[in-house]
């Protein structure tokens, strides 16, 4: 198998991976980013809305524009990026270096004869896992029918591929993803029956909820999906109200005339590679579930293996980028322990990260992150 050398291998070209790679390359290191997707930017490429936050944190900029900006900055800084490259194995046969095995062209080889599929290995001393998150499914009768889709899937075909996957939609989940999806569907010309949530209150920001409600879409709380209707694909849905004990009120079951049901019930860290690398995990529902333990500079319980972004706990894109930068800077500092500039940059990024988790929506995440760092110390010390 062909091998390639790099100082640092970064898995994932979303905001976290590119953030890490940019810091590394700007300090003269060979940062090699691998991503299984055909384009860089991770899930930012389908975010057509403007992000919140201060200007220094790219507030007011659309997600898809941030993806372009970060990718351009990475390439300008000398980062090497391999797209259509899927990491399937990581091992540390040698003491000082890891071997990261990659399947290249797996996606394009099916449509292009001149791009054959092949395997290769990257030898690197450091690994940054920035593999993001995956959508949580929701199981109910009919949930596997064609026409039941993840919210992210709908965003991808709608905003990237420019295809509406249906005409009339039901959205399950009123967190920010569900609310933003609803608004984007309206922008694309779709009809929305309603957005439902089993919780007693709307999950997402009031500003997103307001936009959807003003457009005439009902947001119904204490309401659940009972089943998806249809034999071969979705022809409708059944929803019902819930009582105080979260039980279905039988008399409230009603049928909604939809052809597509979107599941927007949250994300979980996509951490298979961290598991493969032997990282220890902890369960933190505030951050999406099982999270690789890491210290306050993003290193996992495995020496020289880092995590950054949603894989280290599902939060915002701006936080992911900063976590990536922090991981990158910590690697630079390990190689140049006397560099006071890098040291002060680390403190600056750390301070910004904690600051951005101060809002009322983030206090539980703030607490969970503190606990993760505590558990990391407990695990590494023993």
């Amino acid at each position: 198998m062909r091998t390639y050398d790099a100082d640092v291998c970064i898995v994932g070209s979303g905001p976290a991976g590119l953030g890490a790679a940019i810091e590394l390359a700007k300090h003269g290191l060979h940062a090699l980013v691998v991503d299984s997707n055909l384009s860089a930017g991770g899930q930012l490429i389908k975010q057509t809305h403007k992000f919140f936050g201060p200007t220094a944190h790219r507030g007011g900029v659309r997600g898809m524009v941030i993806a372009d900006e970060l990718y351009a900055e990475a390439l300008d800084s000398g980062v090497e990026v391999w797209l259509d490259s899927e990491v399937y194995s990581v091992s540390s046969e040698m003491q000082e270096r890891m071997s990261i095995e990659v399947l290249r062209n797996a996606r394009r080889s099916n449509s292009c004869d001149t791009l054959p599929i092949f395997r290769c290995a990257i030898k690197a001393k450091y690994l940054v896992i920035a593999s993001g998150a995956s959508e949580k499914p929701l199981m109910f009768p009919g949930w596997t029918l064609p026409g039941v889709m993840g919210a992210g899937a709908v965003q991808t075909v709608m905003n990237v591929e420019r295809v509406l996957p249906g005409e009339r939609f039901l959205i399950v989940g009123s967190g920010n993803v569900g609310l933003i999806l609803a608004y984007q569907l309206l922008q694309a010309g779709a009809k929305i029956s309603c957005v439902i949530d089993s919780a007693p209150t709307i999950g997402g920001y009031a500003v997103h909820a307001g936009k959807v409600q003003r457009a005439g879409v009902p947001l119904i709380t204490r309401c659940t999906i009972v089943k998806a209707l249809g034999d071969n694909q979705v022809k409708g849905g059944q929803i019902a109200r819930l009582d105080e004990n979260c039980q279905i009120i039988e008399s409230s079951v009603e049928t909604v005339d939809v052809d597509t049901i979107c599941i927007a019930v949250g994300l979980k860290p996509y951490a298979r590679l961290a598991s493969l690398a032997g990282c220890k995990f902890g369960y933190f529902p505030q951050l999406g579930g099982w999270v690789p333990l890491h210290n306050d500079r993003m290193m996992t319980t495995v020496e020289n293996v880092y995590v950054a972004g949603d894989v280290a706990g599902v939060e915002e894109a701006a936080i992911a980028e900063d976590e990536g930068r922090l991981a990158g800077l910590d690697i630079v500092l390990k190689l140049r322990p006397d560099d006071v500039c890098v040291r002060s940059r680390i403190h600056e990024v750390q301070a910004r990260l904690w600051e951005s988790r101060r809002g009322p929506f983030s206090s539980d995440k703030h607490q969970a992150k503190k606990e993760i760092i505590g558990h990391w110390h407990g695990n590494v010390a023993t």
Partner: protein
């Protein structure tokens, strides 16, 4: 349905159209789009039927993580159509059950 004009996104790009065949039916596709997108634009939603219960599956995650949208493409089974781009003359078939490509011999 294709989204031609959009309040935030620019007008849909004028790209080359290609033709693919899905279960014998010819459909038009935009160069550079995924097989799954081309199918959805043509209102085809079923990608495969499961091996044990013969249940239909279609696009679910859209980013190559799950395996619901796998189909037989140019004779190769288990191709994730949500992350595989169309090519002119491509032959796509509904998949029944499973048949794995042999990555060990790649």
């Amino acid at each position: 349905m294709r989204i031609v004009s959009h309040p935030v996104l620019q007008e849909i790009e004028d790209v080359k159209w290609v033709e693919i065949t899905v279960d014998g039916r010819k459909i038009r596709a935009r160069e550079g789009e995924s097989i799954a997108a081309a199918m959805l634009a043509a209102n085809i939603r079923i990608a495969r039927y499961t091996s044990v219960r013969s249940e239909p599956r279609g696009l679910f995650c859209g980013i190559g993580q799950c395996s619901d949208c796998m189909m037989i493409v140019n004779g190769v089974p288990n191709v994730k159509t949500c992350v595989t781009l169309v090519a002119d003359g491509m032959v796509v078939q509904t998949q029944y059950g499973t048949e794995g490509p042999d990555y060990e011999n790649v």
